[in-house]
Amino acid sequence: MRKNRSLLYHVIIFILAQLAWLSLLGLWIYWYVYNYLVFKKVGNQISPQLSYDTTNVVPFVVGLVLLVGLSLITTWIFRNLNVQLRLNKLYDNFIGNITHELKSPLSSIQLYLETLKSRDVPPEKQKEFIDFMIKDGNRLQRLINSILEISALEQKKLAHNYQVYDAEPLLKQLFIEMAEQFRLPQDTITIDGKADCKIVADKLALKIIFDNLLDNALKYSLNSLKINVKLNCNEKIFTIEFSDNGIGIPQLERKKIFNKFYRIYRRDIPNVKGTGLGLYWVREIVRNHGGKISVASEGEKKGTTFTIELPVYQASKKRFVNKLLTKAKSNKQITLSDE
């Protein structure tokens, strides 16, 4: 409420500034025209040396330019202020979400430790509680890592371990590992298509991409989850289509979901947890690989498809590999396994 009011104040200030500017402009024109007419009328009588045969427009134009400049600066400040306010709002959301994401596992760990300390817990329960604590510890670790890695990614300080891989086996291996890690039923993920090409990729970074996409699919699925992955290669582009049967993404939100800290708040969304960093992270990793990501959804409850396009190694060898080689020189982590 306070923030809305603060925005309203800024809008009012902006309107007042524009009104002040328009008044100033009007006054300036009025002053110039009035003086011009007065001088034209009585100038010769006061000082015959003054000549008004031609209109001296320089001061007039300079005045106008200054006033227009003033208006542009006001608009620019207002625009930037709005961007800042929007960022602050997103940041507040992020802080709220991250606080929740940090405190929940911490509470759980504390609860189990205090339970084990104060009660005579049977051994099978002890094991269950310890498993929960490990799970929460991992959750905290993932969260902290994601924040640190996004920060490193943004500052281009992340040491990527790029290698050249056969696209299809790499992706298949990643999805098998994911299914095991998330303990998904056997038929949850199906992979279609062929991809007989090579890509330059950081395997761990690719894993982060699909972990995030799968995590979202799990969060936003009402029924049993089904994931379909389509692989395709043409001369230049390796395409991965990652489709789920979840609740879908409304048209208006599709562009925004990759923004930092952005989260969709809807009553029908079954899970409200998250930091708003996942898809931003995914997009940054894809961009670092020289690729792009887009999202499509046929509508609500009709699932979502993320399409990731990565450059094919053979086609982009010179440009892309050179770029990675430059990176490799600085972090000495690149190895081109097939060379």
Binding site: K103, T115, I269, P270, V272
Partner: protein, 240 residues
Amino acid sequence: MNDSETGASRILLVEDEETLAVGLEYNLSEEGYTVSWAKDGKEALKFFDHEIFDLIILDIMLPYINGFEIAEKVRERDPQIPILMLTARTTKDDRVKGLETGADDYITKPFHLEELLLRVKRMLKRKKWYRKVSTEMPVVEFGKNKIDFEKLKCSCSTGEIRITPREAMLLKYLIENKGKIISRKELLENVWHMNPDIETRTVDIFIARLRKYFEEDPSNPVYIKSVRGVGYIFDDLALT
């Protein structure tokens, strides 16, 4: 018959974090309570519609329906059931909103198990006390005021009003101890359970509200009088 009358109080635990909920369920069960666990807002309301509970432990950030909305809906149907909000949200605005929407107490994550169990115990004790007193004294009249403690409805000079459970408890406590001077500390202990987050000023605010409802001239009260520097007294001659 309600389970609470046979000894085992029924608690509805509304928490979407599985790891936390399992631990809480275990501890509450160990304390002798019967616990039902709802994983989201929809399930919580479904449980509430079909079963009788003595207390609700409620998270705020829940799937489908958030804790504030649940508290409001629960309060519409049952003004007396104690609600303990258990949440990671710690801002003053969240606390105020939680208490305004009908929560009786608010505890933030991470919390100490002992403290949580103590609060639960006290809330249930208070509920039993309130029920007992309500049964003994369901309707009270003083002056032009008539208070139905069961339904939390009052008819007073301003017309028909509904009071909150906390206001009812405070009034009931004052009436029960009519003629005695009651300190703010005593009120905090017995009506608010000495919640460290609640300041003494809160007592004064609630007293001011009661005076607004029931006194002809709230600035010159005849029923709920102040005893300077000590606390309050309910005039024992006022009761009819």
